[in-house]
Symmetry: C2
Subunit: 342 residues, 2 copies
């Protein structure tokens, strides 16, 4: 049975959401959970549920990094934070992966410091999975770990994203696109122009430029971009889903006939909300690390934590890291020597 | 009465959509329309409607720039294209503004060449208006006219967007935000870090960094960004609206009860679709030109063309350009000398 360490103090509604998510996961999957955080708090929280029979264990961590903490400073100062202890559990082989809904910057920095990067990886990158019109999943990488990326970094994001799509999203031969502002090769900015020839040289199915709408069209299975762009795209999507839900609800409440219609069609809305709900897709994996680290939204609900734990299990079982290492090794042999330890 | 020149050969469904949009506008607003394009084609199209009594006139242009044309090349080669003739009508004072749903790159290049930029403007920028949760409109600038923008350019986008928000969106004291990946000033990339001090020095209500979701939150009335980022954000939004409509329809068709519910609530969906439909917001104004130029989506419907004509009227009546010129003059006096003719 695999073991997943959950940073129980990270999210906006911690530790309630993390504990409930861990319980859901332990009931649904063959997994052992290590809940990391203030022992007495977690014991109390856990006691409120019928969870004694479940394979959930508490690991004490005395400090908590909050959302308001400056990431770099908190990582340096709080050596016994819940996320750091969780990362150590992975490093020391006591857990196969780590899930956190904490301060994203702090989680990324901690994971990088404690776990280290895979041989040949310049920078770890955050991937996010978008649902598409074709029913497939599009892996967007990077969604916020790196800004002002170099073309070389984009090429590595492509390799890592392609592996993730192949192993986790079960795309046999993922099509990899470069996020730009037009399909034609000359449309783009300096970064896309410089990255294009590098992406063409990789031994993967590079389909050229894709546009913002292709995050959802299914044209590409992997969409590569700088982390600033990817982060904006991700948050634009979240914001739009919110306003659309609001507008729809507002329209449905405007007349009696509509309200009756709404009652009859309610399951459709529940279904719809579920389909546009990011919590269904689990957290965002930080790729390129010596270990498994899944980062959840600070506003995650228990379902999102449960799904992130599922992703951590699949990630570990699917040997994503071993495959990335092999793929980068191959690419690096073909190209320039890897700048290890960047 | 104001006069608007409509590039009748530009969009994907030209000239049908442009002619129908012009007729809708001529019926709704006190405006004279100059339909620019192949005379015989437009005459035939116009004859299919009861439009003889409307103030619509055809202006001949023998060439057409297609969506497949490379923008720069087409602008040089096709001197009698419909968009170029329409731009000349504005330059020569025969029309107050120009509306086109044609090849965006070609329309921007043509407008810049034929109309020229306002004194002190480094680069014209494309603005797009997003609906917000607060019921206000957020002006996002730039959404595709410029990539690899400099911090100085972003500062000018802020000034131009602020004027547009004030005059057209009727925001008394627009709050201007810089699109980034976190609210804290240190979060961002090289460009946002360099632009922040410049934005702080402008005599407008700069609220600092905003995030992708703030395009819809109403936190900012003007969102400033590089055109690459803005274009990705715009197209992510379009793509997401499409997939959400599809998912919702799909869910509603899944059972009989849901279908009945849908029939009863249908007006709510029509209402909802209208509210998320970009055609309601008219086209995107290209700000910073000596003249009025509104660019519509290639897939515009007649309603979008009608609304773009309305925006062109408001733009001209509101004296947006005069206000931008005055605002930039003021800012330039306060700061370094303006690099005119960049």
């Amino acid at each position: 049975m695999l073991t997943v360490a959950v940073d129980a103090m990270g999210g906006d509604a911690a530790p309630r959401v993390e504990v409930e998510g861990a319980i859901l996961a332990a009931r649904s999957y063959p997994v052992k959970i290590l809940l990391v955080g203030r022992q007495e708090v977690l014991r109390r929280e856990l006691a409120e549920h019928l969870a004694d029979h479940l394979p959930i264990e508490i690991v004490n961590a005395t400090e908590v990094i909050t959302m308001d903490d400056a990431a770099a400073k908190a990582v340096r100062a709080k050596r016994d934070s819940s996320v750091r202890v969780a990362a150590r559990l992975v490093r020391d082989g006591r857990a196969h992966g780590l899930v956190s809904a904490g301060n994203t910057g702090a989680v990324m920095a901690t994971a990088k410091i404690v776990l280290g990067t895979l041989p040949g990886v310049h920078r770890p990158a955050l991937a996010s999975v978008f649902p598409t019109l074709k029913g497939t999943a599009a892996v967007v990488i990077d969604v916020g770990a790196n800004v002002d990326s170099t073309p070389q970094m984009l090429a590595q994001f492509a390799v890592m994203g392609e592996v993730y799509s192949r192993v986790i999203c079960k795309q046999e031969r993922p099509r990899v696109g470069l996020l730009s502002i037009g399909e034609e090769e000359h449309k783009g900015n300096d970064l896309t122009h410089q990255a294009t020839p590098m992406l063409k040289e990789l031994s993967l199915d590079f389909i050229g430029n894709v546009e913002g709408r292709d995050l959802f069209s299914g044209e590409a299975d992997v969409v590569v971009c700088d982390g600033f762009i990817g982060n904006v795209a991700l948050k634009v999507s979240e914001g739009l889903v919110e306003i659309i839900k609001f507008m729809l609800q507002d329209s449905l409440n405007a007349t009696i006939t509509r309200k009756i219609g709404y009652v009859l069609a309610r399951t459709a809305f529940d279904d719809f909300k579920k389909r546009v709900d990011y919590s269904e897709y689990g957290g965002a994996p930080l790729l390129g690390l010596k270990g498994v680290c899944i980062i959840c939204h600070g506003r995650s609900n228990p379902n999102a934590i449960k799904n992130a734990i599922r992703v951590a299990i699949e990630f570990s079982k699917g040997r994503v890291n071993e495959t990335i290492e092999a793929a980068l090794g191959g690419e690096n042999r073909e190209q320039a020597p890897a700048a290890v330890g960047d």
